[in-house]
Symmetry: C2
Amino acid sequence: MLNFEIKNGSVTSPKGFKAAGINCGLKEKNKDLALIKSDVPATVAALFTTNRVAAAPVLISRENVAKGMAQAIIINSGGANACTGQQGLADAREMTELTAHAAGIKPELVLVASTGVIGKYLPMNIIRKGIEEIVPRLASDGGTLAAEAIMTTDTHPKHFSVDFELDNQKCTIGAIAKGSGMISPNMATMIMAITTDVNIQARLLQEALKKSVDLSLNALTVDGDMSTNDSVFLLANGMSGNSLITRKDENYEKFLAALKAICLKMTRVIATDGEGATKLVTVTVENARNHEQANRAAKAIANSLLVKTAIFGMDPNWGRVISATGASGVDMNLEAVSIRFAGIKVAEKGAAIPFDFPAMKKALAEKEITIHISLGMGNHSATVYTCDLTYDYVKINAEYHT
Amino acid sequence: MLNFEIKNGSVTSPKGFKAAGINCGLKEKNKDLALIKSDVPATVAALFTTNRVAAAPVLISRENVAKGMAQAIIINSGGANACTGQQGLADAREMTELTAHAAGIKPELVLVASTGVIGKYLPMNIIRKGIEEIVPRLASDGGTLAAEAIMTTDTHPKHFSVDFELDNQKCTIGAIAKGSGMISPNMATMIMAITTDVNIQARLLQEALKKSVDLSLNALTVDGDMSTNDSVFLLANGMSGNSLITRKDENYEKFLAALKAICLKMTRVIATDGEGATKLVTVTVENARNHEQANRAAKAIANSLLVKTAIFGMDPNWGRVISATGASGVDMNLEAVSIRFAGIKVAEKGAAIPFDFPAMKKALAEKEITIHISLGMGNHSATVYTCDLTYDYVKINAEYHT
């Protein structure tokens, strides 16, 4: 496994990308409109929500991604443009057209995403003015401003980059994302824009994105609620100068490893900043019969309100872990089940064992908690990332009004 | 549909049942041991958790129920006796034997249930003394004491009865239940003991119980966490004097209707008293393609943290309702979807419509909130019962330590 240094870069860290983030008036004062643009048309890969109720921008972006190339991504917060019917589709399409016009590129090269309350029409007069205003602000250090503009209940902007070499050329992947709530593990689970200057075929780009997301964003759950607007975009403009990656060679593997690393970092940061979260929780199910069962059990544990409140209460309540596992219906050999909280074994052979209580108390006060359960059935494992469930989750979501 | 008056009776309301509830020392001062006994052996029906991790008392009771008759039920709170291996099984079996011995009946006629923290052995010395003590306390007005003794985080005991006539004989069904947390809709979802003096064949008794529970307790979710200890027992001792029900005649239908009525009442009361709940929420999905889809969508909405926090925040956030529905994967005709909160239409043809805001505000301040969503696909519907998600849910479950 290659190790990569994850830096606090962003979508403008790779060569040939500019970005901007502004307040255009959708929100009272925080930034609410982001634009990312490549200097040249880029190969594109994307993953979208599997929710049957997909928002208008998802439908429009899906159409444009299918055409194989993209050059810009326009994203607004402050309104999801979901459940907005024909008007919503027209509005999302207009956002791509206005951006294309102002930036001097073709409309089908523009992707669009929205985030915010479902079921309200976008105030297009504000967005039209906003797009006019944002295009001239595009700058090669604008990525972090774009990261700010896509935040909803996030407490901080999320932006990273990673550098590596292909064919002796410096290559970079940069990413911004918004996370926080309505996050459940099924396909892309939030809005994330990734840029890279790597030169790679479209088919391999899509495959690398799918693989990376399966191990990271798709293994992330905050509240089990799948959004209508989840979109992950990946633009590769080829400007680093490496020779085109056309097969799964060493260059592909290195690119894939870097992409996985940045997706995993983003996943952990999104979980840590889950709505109201005080702790990052990683749940690993081991010795399952197969991968599907390992994954199903890990998600069941990670989505259990009782497990999540126990972690908030700093209680190694392994009974709730084993109960959630049993409820998920996966095969388990009860007499061989063992469970660790924060690395400390609390149950063995399906029953309680004594453990070092002061050591546990100290471990559960940390910011990151691991839960391991071994099912004693086979040799498959899976890890899912989540956070604890706190008063603030309730506060945020009871007070975030339509 | 027959209407029944639900009274504040209990398991001792039907003829020939006695019960008791005491503190035996499992809890500091609240009652923690309940016993219900029929004067004569009774026909028995039961439903148990489908959790792969079933507690020891579930395994022992399942064995005894299979023998077809039962005469007593011993239930403790303050310890679930789940994940306790061979010792747990021996302890659960000993509870039936001690009860049988003290009450002068056969051990295989005793059912057992436990509720409390998972993964701890029962302090059998305390239980042994408790069983000695409780048997002489059996009384024909002891049902409400038994209801108190099975409470965990319930804020009040739950006990009801319903009277009706069969063959000009007065018949009664009585029930006690504990609810509150770790409640998810899959088979029986808590501990509930039902008694009746009706004279009915075992096969029809089981069928009536399954039908009643499917429409009530199995349509109840508080937090989506399925317990390891769920058990519903139904004892019919035949002492009312009606002629044995052997087929689905008028008498069977009347008994079934009464059983459904008491199960539904208990379901609504358990939802209302869900951990931290301030409101009873009934979610009805209409015009689904089939019953399975209606039920799946209703459960998805009822389990959505975002929907539940919105109700706590008194916000008619239909976007969260439609998003949860879409995430459940059921078929829906988006252009025909309509949604009502508290009877007031907020979305039609899949998009927002204006509504009377002051009327909505008033309606959402009530103790019972209805959510209706019509999927525009067919003519099947399903209703699920739940509650809102509040600060107190987090408080209760973060502080309820192992």
